[in-house]
Structures are given as C-alpha cells and as structure tokens.
Symmetry: C2
Subunit: 293 residues, 2 copies
C-alpha cells in the first residue's frame, strides 16, 4: 500500500475508534462533548496515531493492538493544541483550517474541552489490553511523563517565557525536544509496547522518534515562514510576529533545511535493525521532511 | 486518635508523598514547578486524601496502600480549583487563603499548572501497587471517568452555563453530583480498591461517598452565604454575586441545612456493614457537616 492510502486508512481507523470511545455529542452537557469533537474531528493529519500503529507493525504486531494508544496520543495532542491556542497562550484564531475552540465555544469551554480530552486520553489507554512485557500502567506512566511538566508542558512554558527574547540554539532545542519530540517519541514507544517489543526494538524506535520529532518541528518552523495560512490550516508567519525563536530565525532557513534533512537521515539509520517491517515508518519520515503543510 | 490529630497526620503523610512525587521546584522550567507546588501546598484541608486513606482502613487495609490514590485525587482536585478560578471561569482572586494561581503566575502558566497537575495525577496513580482484585489500570479508569466530561467537567460546564439563570432543584443536583460528589466518591472507591475490598464493601463506600459528597457541597453553599472570606480562605458571597444557583438560593437556608443533615445521616447508615473500622469515616462525615470553613 502506498503512503497516502496507508495514512488515509489509518485516519479512518483511528477516527472510528475515537468516535466510539468518546461520549456522543448529545451527552449532557452537550456543549463540552460538541467542543471535544469539534477539535478532535477537525481533519488533523493523525501523524502521531499513524506513527503509533506503524511502530506496532514494525515490531511484528498488528496495528489494532496499538489502537488504544494511538487514540490516546491523538487526544493529548488535540488538548495541547486547544490550550496552546488560548488568548493567554499563543492567542490563535485558526487551527486545522477552522476557527479555534475558544473562538467558537468561548474561553471557559475551550479550557474545559482541553481538560476533558487530556482526561479522556488516560481513560482510553486504561482500557488497552496489556502486552506480556508491559502492564497497561507502565504505558500510562509513559504517556503521563511525556505529556507532563518535564516534557510537553515544559516545552510550552519555555516557549511562552521565550517570546520576544533572543534564543540560543540550545534553548530552542530544549523547547522543541519537549514541546514536539516527546509526544512523537512516546507515540512510537507506546506502539512498540502494544506489540510487546523487546528492548532492542523499543530502543531503536525511541531514537527514531526523538530525531524524527525534532526534524518535524524544524520543518514546522520552516513552513511557518514559507507557506500561507490557507495551505497550513493555521496562522502562518505567527512565530515571527510573536517574536518567537524558531530554527529559521536562529540559524537561518538554509541551515534549518539542512538540519531537518540530517536529523531525518539519523532517524532512518536508527530503523535499520528493524528491516522491511519498518518500511512504512521510513515512508512517513520521508513524507514529513518533504511536506508543504 | 481523635479526628484533628488524625487529619493532621494524614495531611503530613500526603504532603510528604506529594513532595516526593513532584519534580522539585528548581526543575526546568522552574516556573511551572513553582506554580504546581504553590497551589498544591497551599494548606488545603486534604479532605479527599483523608477519605481515601480512611476508606482503605475501613476495608481492613493499611492506609499506606492507598497513598498513591490519595495523592492522585488531591492533584486532580487542585488542578480543578486552579482552572475554576481562571478569569474565563469563576474569575476568583483568593483560594486557600492566598492569591489564586493566575494572579501570581499569569493566566498562561496557571492553565499549564492545572494541566500539569492533572497529568501528574495519572503518573502517580500509574505507580501504585495493584491489589489482587483491581489492576492499576482499573483504578486509573475510575479516576479518569470521575474527572472526565461526564462527571467533574460536566459539573463545571453546567455550572458555567447556569450563571445568571434560575435553576431547578434537579439542575442543581446534576451540578453538585458531578462537580463535587463524583471526586469524593472516587476518592473512597480508590481507597477501598487499594485495600482489595470485596464488592459489598466497595458498594457501601460508593453510597457513602455519593451522599457525603452532596452533603459536602450543600454545606459549602451554606458557608458561602454565612461565613466571611477570611474564614473560608476563598471569596465568600461569590455564588450569589455571580448569579449562581445554590441550595440556599433555590430551597432556602433552613431547608439546605436540613438536607445536608439528612444526606449525612444516609451516608452514615451506608457505613453500618463496615462496623468499627469505619469509625474514622463517621468522624469525618460529622466534621464535614458541622464545619464552619
């Protein structure tokens, strides 16, 4: 199966599962369930779930074994976007091509919709079938650490605090590793764990995820300056106008592109021990480097 | 041991454990860890942890078996207070006798500190020792459901949406059951599960928790109109000025007191099958009914 078909199938599978896991839109109070679904089913690329399912397959498991984990990471990702977009954070009007949650539902409900999706992530993952080597509680702890105050939230805080101040390359890396790479890495690790991967495979996918996650964020930074809002489905040029440090602003556009290529190459090398089963992961890494949205 | 001594010992035990579970205040970025600790160690009554530990003892277990659960429910409770106090929610300046999180750290960091404490709750609970009847994932699912969009968050949304509108008794009960009773009930259930309680004991504590939780919120409503902000450590008279429906505003002060007494009596009856081991829980229920803060 080629990559676009594979990604589409993955999206559909994850969307069906998310639809079944979430309370329906009419459950009382309807507002919160409408708000959760508005952001969750807004046509996201479902890149983290795709990596999660492909990681399970790369370790010899069935994609379905990782479906709970894939849905959980997407809930965490969507919550983080809703809260990042709030007026007290990045104050953004557009996300995934639509008005942001607080524009539609008001700030109070947007905060609560994010809270609810974060909580939902753990409820979903708690229902996963344990793999022999990995109790479900181990997987939940992994997700909580990646989404917690030393990783995802640390990145967001450092990003907030850095606005309008010049950043060093080290600070930028601190932010990107936490704000983006940690959740991409854990998506791969949870996929591998769901397939009961041994230590060597889990380690290989961890290295792959960390490098790929950094490359992903550098490409995001590049697209912010080279693409239109329409193409991205979110406000372009936003980082620069907010005085945010980005790879292009700190090391320049050409060096950023080179860095993204080099990190992707490193990520691909880490996959070598996994052989042919990791081909879909290679395809995703290539796609993420060359994407224009 | 008398109740004040018991509650003090419980607070100290829970505070020590929370201190050990949380990243220290200097962990990078320091802001988020200072903000998490500012709200968590603000001198709360630790009523939910006390109920959790006492539930474990009422089921014949050691209090320490429920320490992870007790810390987790306190993290969820504190996160919910931080987010409730935000300008886009109840817009409150005072909590636990101190300026609210967003007053001290700004709104962006307050949102993230709440997010981080919610995430921390699951990280802590994921490290609990499983009881024979209850895998840790079962306990995590219970916590996520109680804190989720059909319970805690549903109550908060209904509360937000009800501001300035007259409420019926049924609507008020919908809010109170979800916003307050659900987390009190799950505190007791997680304590019982940590002690490997059988079905009958778990059911008894569930009924106790649901009635006690409602009584607790009615007493809160009463104190809001009868006590000073200084005594409560949060803004008194706030519900009335925000046009919120409360038990006193809907059924009157005397009927509210009667209702709280009757719910507490029902809660105490539910404890009868547990015998003498449930005495500390009885003491807490009596204390919560008669408190003046």
């Amino acid at each position: 199966m080629d990559l676009p078909a594979r990604l589409k199938e993955c999206s559909q599978r994850v969307d069906r599962a998310l639809d079944a896991f979430l309370p329906n839109a009419a459950a009382k109070p309807a507002t919160i369930h409408r708000a959760m679904r508005y952001s969750l089913f807004a046509g996201g690329k479902r890149m983290r779930p795709a990596l999660c399912l492909a990681a399970a397959e790369a370790c010899g498991g069935a994609a379905d074994a990782a479906l709970h984990a894939a849905c959980a990471v997407e809930c965490v990702h969507t919550y983080s976007l809703i809260h990042d977009d709030l007026p007290c954070m990045d104050d953004d009007d557009l996300r995934r091509g639509r008005p942001t949650s607080h524009k539609v539902f008001g700030e109070g409900v947007a905060v609560l919709a994010g809270d609810a999706l974060l909580t939902q992530a753990f409820e979903i993952l708690a229902q996963a079938r344990p793999a022999r080597r990995y109790p479900v509680s181990t997987m939940i702890r992994e997700l909580a650490v990646a989404a917690g105050s030393l990783q995802l939230i640390a990145g967001q805080v450092a990003d907030l605090e850095g606005e309008g101040r010049p950043a060093t390359r080290a600070q930028l890396r601190f932010i990107h590793e936490r704000k983006t790479a940690a959740m991409i890495e854990v998506s791969l690790r949870l996929g591998a764990m769901s397939a009961n991967a041994g230590r060597a495979k889990l380690d290989a996918l961890t290295v792959f995820g960390r490098s790929l996650g950094l490359a992903f964020q550098i490409v995001d930074d590049i697209l912010d300056v080279t693409q239109t809002s329409e193409r991205l489905g979110k406000s372009a040029g936003k980082d620069a106008s907010a005085g945010k440090a980005t790879y292009p602003s700190v090391i320049g556009l050409d060096a950023s592109k080179k860095q993204a290529r080099s990190l992707t190459a490193g990520a691909l090398r880490a996959l070598e021990p996994l052989g042919r089963r990791a081909l879909p992961l290679r395809d995703i890494a290539d796609f993420l480097l060359d994407r224009d949205y």
